[in-house]
């Protein structure tokens, strides 16, 4: 059976990988990836809060880890994921109402996500370094 050939070569429906990635498609995939990343990231939030509720020493240890180079890198990624997912989520919520589906509105809403998320992330981190 393994080498039996179909008698008629039927056209296959194209798979997802065949299409040229469109910006809104990439943003939708990123919305899912950032959602899943934030899910795991809640562990950091929990660790931070529990350490605080345990003792000032435990809190200092967690803050030291988060302040290390690796910690900052993770937190930077977390900040970006949060803003990317938030702005992308607003886009989904607008779409749920049936608005912003036209050719122009759709494109603008799509580009708002990467541009807005990078801008907000940089803003927060600049503020963080200024405050410190």
């Amino acid at each position: 059976m393994a080498d039996s050939k179909p008698r008629i070569e039927r056209p296959l429906s194209p798979h997802l990988q065949i299409f040229r990635p469109l910006p809104n498609m990439v943003m939708s995939i990123l919305h899912r990836i950032t959602g899943a990343a934030l899910y795991v990231g809640t562990l950091i939030l929990a660790a931070w809060l529990i350490a605080g509720a345990t003792s000032p020493d435990a809190f200092a240890t967690v803050e030291w880890a988060l302040g290390s180079f690796l910690g900052r890198l993770v937190l930077f990624g977390y900040t970006w994921a949060l803003f990317h997912h938030m702005i992308g989520g607003v886009r989904h919520l607008i779409w749920d109402t049936g608005h912003g589906m036209g050719a122009i509105g759709r494109e603008q809403l799509t580009w708002l996500t990467p541009i807005g998320s990078v801008a907000l992330t940089l803003l927060v981190w600049i503020a963080a370094y200024v405050i410190r």
Binding site: R32, G35, A46, L49, G52, A53, G89
Partner: protein, 131 residues
């Protein structure tokens, strides 16, 4: 009545709004509700982090001692956990096709969300009441 003749559901099922998943549109609606709530709450969370930054334990404890901040953080954690639990369930339902593993992942998802949520809530309350 003509419309009812084309339906496979009984009138009772239709009234209750429960489809094949037995849970109707509850998840869809709750996911939107929590998403909307998350927007201001996320901003509040980022502000809290910036506010307490560099202040160590004392800054966090002092901020959460203010009931307004404690309530904002409790809301952020509770709605966030509800939202991510439904969101992850959607992801699991999309990728886990076999009943066994799907069931296991769904259980893990619930346990994780409830555990993380409760841990954060207890921590916030303890800090707020003066750890």
């Amino acid at each position: 009545m003509a419309e009812l003749h084309n339906r496979i559901e009984t009138p009772l099922k239709r009234v209750r709004g429960l489809g094949s998943a037995r849970s109707g549109t509850e998840h869809f609606w709750r996911q939107r509700l929590t998403a909307i709530a998350q927007i201001p709450l996320t901003i509040a969370f980022v502000v809290l982090v910036l506010k307490t930054l560099g202040g160590g334990y004392d800054a966090l404890a002092a901020t959460l001692a203010n009931p307004l901040w404690a309530v904002l953080m409790l809301l952020f954690v509770v709605t966030g956990v509800m939202h991510m639990r439904i969101g992850m369930q959607v992801i699991i339902e999309d990728y886990a096709h076999e009943e066994g593993p799907k069931f296991a992942w769904l259980i893990l998802n619930n346990f994780f969300a409830i555990l993380v949520g409760l841990a954060c809530v207890v921590a916030i309350l303890k800090l707020s009441f003066g750890a």
